[in-house]
Subunit: 155 residues, 2 copies
């Protein structure tokens, strides 16, 4: 039921919800489908503007909000202030290193036991789309805090 949507599916969903299919929406959908990791609104905006320079950030926000209501995308808050978005259906957890800020995606199955425990003990239904944990990645731990950013930037 939660397979990664493609552009056509997304377009159909929008249409099916009695919303309008616009060029901006189509482009955002394309960008999200082509992107592999998570993208900030800024990144999405830049990518969209490469094709359609007139599209404004506020429109991106509105489109993402709509896509989220339609359960086409989900967002998460990782280490940085700006939220990141990715397609729904790619259900996974995020491990963000608080030193180098890099994020690793891990299968959400790692959360199975915890999830069951939280439900049983607290009646709390874990949202598997928003799983974000912070800590220190191996590289930064090895480097001993501080001298961490060796190879790249955000993944």
């Amino acid at each position: 039921m939660s397979t990664t949507p493609d552009v056509e599916t997304m377009v159909s969903t929008v249409r099916g919800a009695a919303k309008r299919v616009t060029a901006a929406k189509r482009t955002v959908a394309e960008v999200l489908v082509e992107a592999h990791g998570h993208l900030t609104v800024d990144e999405i905006t830049s990518a969209v503007q490469r094709q359609r320079p007139e599209v404004s950030p506020s429109t991106i926000y509105r489109i993402l909000e709509e896509f989220e209501e339609l359960e086409l995308v989900v967002h998460a808050h990782l280490g940085q202030p700006a939220a990141v978005y990715h397609l729904a259906g790619i259900v996974h957890g995020h491990l963000t290193c608080e030193i180098c800020q890099r994020t690793v995606e891990i299968p959400s199955s790692h959360f199975d036991a915890l999830s069951r425990e939280l439900l049983a003990r607290y009646g709390f239904q874990l949202d598997r789309h928003h799983l974000a944990l912070s800590g220190r990645c191996r590289a930064c731990r090895d480097a001993g805090a501080g001298t961490a950013i060796t190879s790249g930037a955000t993944a």
Copy 2:
């Protein structure tokens, strides 16, 4: 090693770090010690200003930053954009309901197994001070999304 600090301990730590002990810092320390849950900067500011109206938010930010460097406090990002702060030593996880925004604190022991798994599998050292998960609390699940805010506000 990580017992909850009291005001005196905090003051000593500040002094020991060759930082100055000011009225504002003392008041922030008091507020944090007296508070039981986590507080936003806004809440801390209001509480501090009740005693010292001249203290400005920017000072609170600077003091919290210093306290965090001294490992006296930690902050976490729960559902809302504003970060929340609490004393270090109160190591626990946070479960935030994405409907009613209420947060429950749970013992971090729930994360033991997951923590071991992440370390073994990814070399990722989970930061037990920043544990924040979102999902739906029992009340909101029972109420069936939407009609959720029945009793109170943020805990």
